[in-house]
Symmetry: C2
Subunit: 339 residues, 2 copies
DNA sequence: ATTAGCACTCTCGCGGTGAGAGTGCTAATG
DNA sequence: CATTAGCACTCTCACCGCGAGAGTGCTAAT
């Protein structure tokens, strides 16, 4: 059956309505709340057709219609009209970002919080992850007589540290000299090179420190999970009304699987957004979730993602532009940060 | 009515049983599963007496008994026998801690995870918070032509960083020299001194950097919330079976109120534990929760806490020694770290 | 002091039931 | 020929009543 304009229009209204109310949409609701110049009977015919084409479903005989994955997909692709992020909200957020002086980490955390608050779903923001990280600078700081802290600054402006047990007693002056030597040879290098260089160093302390630096560069990716906010608000959605559903959702959200979730952003070009709806997700537990995801950075090999995770019944028209906006905002801020 | 030995014994069994099964304990269950040489009728009399004294309650007429706050209190204080942490588990954990080379932050996160897994409740571990933090070392790392990263190492071995916009273009060599000067004047100083010193510096960049260092020292306390783990496991407890309860619990656990929660550890001496049961908590939302809390560090002014948060029906005999153990473990590790 | 026995109370799960919502179909309508 | 009024039919859901079961409290016997 062909998808006539009228039918598409009805589908659009239906999805809007369902997103809004979370209640299966009846023909009555459609004529009452959206001024279609048609009777419920006509709508019912059209709905039946939409159902045949797989855009909507029926929980049971005497219930209204609910969009299917396919229905949402069409809606997102062509039916909805995106809601621009209001100027006032942009201003507020940009102000907040400029207040936040803590650097990248604070921005990302803030982005997750803002996003979750805006869209009423869970927001995930990952740190930028370079395909290959390089060392920018290393410093050795004395802690104890025989221990020092290796502080490594990476080329993405983030910092890693680890404790080093020294061979013999050294002063801070000696440590600084050692750091100087290391910087000369390791600055701008990646983990592999750092390891190789480290192995040929003769001074025991220099060698140890270099190897630790190599490890720090390597483990840089893995450090700490992404920023997550909005768990408490997404759980208020009616789809999690039963304890089992809610518990399952919490489990997946707090377990550290989120990195996998956002990995679908691999092929999203910066400035673009990707939407994964229900069965379009490969993870089994995501079959009834949708993800709106965007990436920032990327050109220089530093890519991070901004995503919203929620039930399929999600306010896409509001969510998509906001994800895109925040992603672009971080992108700009980051550009100032990376040399 | 006097609390005879027998009555205390029965109370102890009852609490054990209830903690185990989460079901109101009947006189029948008590004689069947704990070899008391008494009939159910006798037990019933004793239970009635315990109820009169306020140690147990009755959900309704024909239900078994449930310990009251007061009952739990007596149980914790005098009735239970603590379960030592098995040697094997200690070994495993200590091994894990030695593997974890990422320093303090990684230890704390690990401690929360281990603890939550051990006791089946939420675990909270806060970072050590000095009454007064001092700078150990500062380093300036060039990012851009006109921006640098200020990296400050504090005396507790943690690192803070912030971006600095430079006045004029500087080389890394010049930045290092600047850092050298700053170290000479700021190392070992607290925020107030750093600010005062900063203000009298003549070089614009040095002054800016010093002021940022001062702010970093100050804001050091506030950075990031405590480590939390076990949310998903505590929610499996039957007390959270209803969606409302569960949602409320999630809200409080993910909201950043946990710092307030652990503030009750203020007067716990290191090596000791404190238990707060139900109404003993001042926060209204904690009226049906218990907290087992311990602190580490503290002598040198660096104090952090290790805590377990769960429903009142908590396995105290197992939880208390484990909280104490992990707290002591961190205490030891930290002592190696702080000069 | 302990215990057997028994009446009494309260919960909980179950099946039945009726109102309400919504559909699908048919026949009438413009 | 598309639209619509009308109506029978279906399914859910909240409510009610009820009986089984669990557990107590009390009394009288040991």
């Amino acid at each position: 059956m062909a998808l006539t304009d009228r039918r598409a229009d009805i589908l659009a209204r239906l999805v809007d309505e369902y997103i809004d109310t979370a209640v299966p949409v009846s023909s009555r609701a459609l004529v009452d709340r959206h001024r279609l110049g048609l009777s419920t009977a006509t709508i019912r015919n059209e709905l039946a057709a939409l159902e045949q084409d797989g855009y909507v479903t029926h929980p049971h005989t005497s219930a209204g219609r609910v969009p299917s994955d396919r229905g949402y997909r069409l809606y997102v692709q062509t039916l909805m009209t995106e809601e621009a992020v209001p100027q006032t909200e942009r201003r507020t957020v940009e102000h907040q970002f400029h207040q936040a002086s803590g650097g990248l980490d604070e921005w990302l955390s803030l982005a997750a919080t803002v996003l979750a608050g805006w869209v009423g779903n869970a927001a995930i923001v990952t740190r930028p992850r370079a395909r290959i990280t390089r060392l920018k600078h290393v410093q050795l700081v004395q802690l104890h007589e025989d221990t020092a802290l290796v502080v490594a600054v990476m080329d993405d402006g983030r910092v890693q540290q680890r404790i080093l047990s020294l061979h013999g007693l050294l002063t801070q002056r000696e440590l600084s000299a050692s750091a100087e030597r290391l910087n000369a040879r390791l600055s701008g290098r990646d983990a592999e090179v750092a390891r190789a260089v480290g192995q040929e160093l003769t001074s025991a302390n220099d060698r140890l420190a270099a190897l630790i630096v190599a490890e720090l560069i390597e483990s840089h990716h893995a450090t700490e999970g992404p920023y997550l906010d909005g768990v408490q608000v997404v759980l208020e959605q009616p789809e999690f009304a039963s304890p089992e559903r809610m518990l399952e959702a919490v489990r997946h959200l707090v377990a550290y699987e989120l990195d996998r979730v956002v990995s679908v952003a691999a092929d999203v070009e910066p400035g673009g957004t990707k939407v994964m709806i229900g069965s379009e997700n490969s993870d089994p537990w995501l079959q009834e979730w949708s993800i709106v995801i965007s990436s920032y950075g990327g050109r220089g090999g530093l890519a991070g993602t901004v995503a919203v995770l929620g039930p399929m019944r999600m306010h896409y028209a509001r969510t998509i532009p906001r994800v895109r906006y925040l992603s672009a905002l971080i992108d700009n801020l980051m550009r100032e940060l990376v040399s």
